[in-house]
Symmetry: C2
Amino acid sequence: MPPDGPPPDVAVLVVILTVVEGELRVLLIQRSAPPDEGAWAIPGGALITNESLDAAATRKLAEETGVRDVFLEQLYTFSDLDDFAPAGAVAVTYFALVRHDGVRLAERSAWAPGWFAVNALPVLAFHNERVLDLARVRLTSKLEYTNAAYSLLPEFFTMSQLQETYESIMGRKLDKRNFRRRVLASDLLVVTQQTAKAGRHRPARLYRFASRTPVEL
Amino acid sequence: MPPDGPPPDVAVLVVILTVVEGELRVLLIQRSAPPDEGAWAIPGGALITNESLDAAATRKLAEETGVRDVFLEQLYTFSDLDDFAPAGAVAVTYFALVRHDGVRLAERSAWAPGWFAVNALPVLAFHNERVLDLARVRLTSKLEYTNAAYSLLPEFFTMSQLQETYESIMGRKLDKRNFRRRVLASDLLVVTQQTAKAGRHRPARLYRFASRTPVEL
DNA sequence: TCAAAAGTGTTCCACTTACACCCATGT
DNA sequence: ACATGGGTGTAAGTGGAACACTTTTGA
């Protein structure tokens, strides 16, 4: 969508995060034009006429991933990310959580997207590492008092899947019994009667989130 | 590096809060032109060429109050506050905490400023009540884990003054002993050897904040 | 001596943390 | 029968909430 042309006065960037293979990963786009050609950047674009910021973020997320109705929240607004932007330009950043297997990446030869582990980032354009740092901090704290993880898991999931998701984001192991107790006490989860048979071991009970829209405790 | 064209559609608003007489109050400006003429609004203005958002908020705060070097933090960015703004306009909001007795209000016949208790607001322009609600929520939570109150108190203050400040913001009484214990355990405060003699009762010990710049726990 | 605000400790409860073994299933 | 991941309880420690009296001063 947005190769060249002068940068808009108000850009919307969306940090799109997922968890795969025990890693927190972010969707980045490789710039195929100066400045910072070849470097990777957070996807974004200009605000369209008559569009709200939330709508622009929703649209951008859908363009890149095909995904809708997920956790998407405003992060921070920067005025000094892009040294080449016209004076007065601002970047309103959002962050989104998506299920890796629900994503259909945009297919483009230029501006190709790719997933990167947040612990092994490529060379980034502008000052995008500041945005990513902020997103990680906010996500970690959101996990503690919201149901944000609903957006990273299928409708039904096991307690182990949930715990692994948390561990991947926080970057450390959690105690199984304590995790279980806390998360069940929070009332964010609902126990189902179903189980997942998955190999030569005891089947795991399935849970779901009480709400699949954002809830704060 | 393009020259400056038309001004960008980015406004910066600053919610300026203080505590006086046991009340949390906000500085508002009375509009003397349409739209919403006569209604009160959060002070703000356009971003100036080559100015960062933080700089614009700092400048706006100084213009209205003469105050610098206080708690000032970005709050949220809205695209749908002002129904009359051009499409694509956004409002980046900040909130600031000032000492009431350090303020020198701008003197103007038009667009006169005034303080209002947040519990007794006048008719507001645009959707400014959304911004004020958000500021209150954020302030209340910031009090719990930062030294934000440094910006509302003189350099030296008594434990009672500090507690009254907290109570005014939270809108409820706190237990004296628990408050003392918590706030001293936080390491945000330093005990001085001085006392304040203030009438026919026991003099109060004076405290100061360990840092008069923002600190998170 | 009295009025006024400053200052001080303890108990209870809820929540967090650390920690190790048995259970149900498939091969 | 055994390997694999699922599932469970308890004790110790920590932090918050409730609660009332003594101290110091000035008038």
